[in-house]
């Protein structure tokens, strides 16, 4: 038992570190990206302009990364917290001999959980005025829509634990209400479910922001999720899409037997290593992928750290 617990802590530390990096990045993000005064630094690679290079206008990509973190960090954390709170509530209610509340929560969960999430998100976006545009309201709505599944799972976990009988048994041993509910029920038993659901919703909110901002970029319109002085991580992917076309075209030809892999790989390497990049966006798309992967990794590490013994 001791050995397994020891093996889990590195996951928790790694998840916490990644989360901390996201929050610190968000806090340290500039309000506006740099204004390039000379165009000599356009689209240079990571070696020429560390750490990530610049885009075709000469703006350092790390500034996009920081601003993207600023957009998502707080709303995603709030969404995660909302889901964790509601899941905890559902678990506690299942153990708390409150059948009317339990039934009410389940009924409400059924209805809310059945609402088509994207439809609700878009309606909320429609309602937001110019000054209210931001990820937070959308993230909270998303969390509320995602909460029924988390609540259901938490309640089911509490039910498997024995529900009210489990609580009565602990109380019979003389445990205080706090210790019974928060230490034994929540911390020791519901934690894996609650942390996993919270982490997943955090990740979903980040991905939702990227998706909404990307769609807005594609349609040349303002994103619902942030003001125009900020750049979402979707910008990196959008810049990278052009490059993906660049790369895909030869891949299609290679697959069709009309070209050779070596030619394609050589072209990609040239793009990666020269300071004057020909295909715009190679580093943008890579940075975008790394950021997305780091968010997914945070959720997975949190999940691994909190999994049941």
């Amino acid at each position: 038992m001791r050995a397994r617990r020891e093996r889990r802590w590195p996951y928790g530390v790694a998840a916490a570190l990644l989360l901390l990096v996201l929050i610190v990045a968000g806090l340290s993000a500039p309000e506006f990206v740099s204004s390039p005064t000379a165009l000599s630094g356009q689209a240079v690679g990571p070696f020429a302009s560390p750490p990530f290079g610049t885009d075709e206008r000469g703006i350092p990509l790390y500034e996009y990364a920081l601003q993207g973190a600023r957009i998502v960090a707080f709303p995603a954390a709030v969404a995660g917290a909302v889901v964790m709170m509601l899941a905890t509530l559902a678990g506690l209610v299942r153990c708390g001999n409150l059948p009317w509340l339990d039934t009410g929560l389940q009924a409400a969960g059924e209805i809310v959980g059945a609402l088509p999430r994207m439809v609700v998100v878009l309606v909320v976006a429609l309602l937001l005025g110019y000054d209210q545009k931001g990820l937070l309201p959308i993230a909270v709505v998303w969390a509320l829509l995602a909460a029924p599944a988390a609540m259901d799972e938490a309640a089911a976990s509490a039910g498997r634990l024995g529900g009210t009988r489990f609580v009565e048994a602990l109380r019979a041993h003389g445990f205080s209400a706090f210790r019974t509910y928060f230490i034994h029920v929540v911390w020791k038993n519901l934690r894996p479910v609650i942390v996993r659901q919270g982490a997943e919703v955090m990740m979903q909110v980040v991905f939702l922001e990227i998706a909404l901002s990307y769609l807005a970029l594609q349609r040349s319109t303002q994103s619902f999720t942030h003001t125009e002085n900020l750049y979402s991580w979707a910008t990196l992917l959008y810049q990278g899409y052009s490059w993906m076309l660049f790369v895909f075209q030869p891949i299609v030809k290679v697959a069709a037997g009309e070209s050779e892999w070596a030619v394609w790989a050589d072209a990609v390497w040239v793009n990666m290593t020269t300071s004057e990049l020909d295909g715009p966006g190679v580093q943008s798309v890579l940075v975008g992928f790394v950021l997305v992967a780091s968010v997914a990794a945070t959720a997975q590490l949190a999940r691994a750290a909190a999994r049941a013994r």
Binding site: M118, L215, T221, F248
Partner: protein, 308 residues
């Protein structure tokens, strides 16, 4: 809680859902500043806003508008597009969009159902789980980007060629099935449900009696599996908005997105109604299935008392 409570709540929710969502949107329309009719015809640039408001039933408040819309929607008359496709009956847009989204969902169901069945039967090796889970961590937007790049480069803008549309649908369905952990959930979730169930004492007794594990487990796990599948279909439907826009599939999700951007409430109401009706239908099916299974499980087992 009585066994019929949950299915009953689901049945009521299933019926209410398509009514509530348009009501919420109507409320939103009036919650926005300004006269709703001015969205179509700003009084600063065009006369006749009042006449237009009357044509669109916007002149007598939200309740009147909602009731008129609902009555017309019962006969599949969703009015006309306000701004996006000004003048086109929304029904026509729906008729062309629903099959696209339907095809996308059905195609996405193929890997999902295959994964569910093969996981239930234990045919899918556990070591492959990592692959599904890896793809499940990739957001739909990224997978859709790769798919869109491939189609764009391969076909460009072509006339009357069915291939780009077919590619878009197949790749879009694959994205919806793989992304956001949908396929991973179908495989791993189904397997874990079955694994839990076969540990139950009644299954072990059934095995001792020479009965098959599946035939005994299925009635008990089916309600859970149906619930899971409904959740997955809702995820697929939600993801369809992103996938359809990026892959330029003229489906319901793209229609909803475009309608939202152009504040075309005619389109938004109808598309949201269709989404919620689909969600309601799934819920209805789940409730009926749960009731049927519960009745089946609760009836006297055949052969009891005949011989031992």
């Amino acid at each position: 809680m009585k066994w019929w409570m949950r299915p009953l709540v689901r049945l009521i929710a299933a019926i209410l859902l398509p009514l509530v969502v348009p009501a919420l949107i109507t409320g939103a329309l009036w919650a926005l500043p300004g006269d709703p009719a001015s969205i179509i015809c700003p009084p600063e640039t065009c006369d006749g806003t009042e006449a237009l408001a009357e044509r669109f039933n916007l002149h007598r408040g939200p309740v009147f508008f909602y009731m008129q819309w609902l009555l017309a929607a019962m006969s599949l008359d969703f009015g006309r597009s306000w701004t996006l496709m000004a003048g086109t009956p929304v029904y026509e847009e729906m008729v062309s969009a629903v099959p696209m989204t339907g095809a996308l969902v059905v195609l996405a169901l193929v890997p999902l159902l295959t994964g569910t069945v093969t996981a239930a039967l234990g045919w899918l090796p556990r070591f492959l789980d990592g692959i599904w889970q890896f793809f499940g961590l990739i957001p739909a937007v990224i997978l859709a980007l790769f798919a869109a790049a491939y189609v764009e480069i391969s076909f460009g803008v072509t006339f009357g060629d069915w291939r780009p549309t077919a590619w878009r649908l197949v790749l879009g369905a694959l994205v919806l099935a793989l992304a956001d952990g949908t396929l991973a959930g179908a495989i791993v979730g189904t397997r874990s449900v079955f694994e839990e169930e076969v540990k139950q004492r009644y299954i072990q007794v059934a095995i001792l009696r020479g009965e098959s594990t599946l035939s005994n487990a299925i009635p008990n796990v089916l309600p859970g599996l149906i619930g899971q599948m409904r959740g997955r279909l809702l995820t697929v439907l939600s993801g369809a908005v992103v996938v359809e826009v990026i892959l330029k599939i003229p489906g319901l999700g793209g229609l909803l997105w475009d309608g939202t951007l152009s504040q075309d409430y005619g389109i938004v109401l109808a598309a949201a109604f269709a989404f919620s009706a689909f969600s309601g239908a799934l819920m209805f099916v789940q409730a009926i299935a749960e009731i049927a299974i519960a009745l089946y499980v609760r009836r006297s087992p055949a052969g009891v008392g005949e011989s031992t």
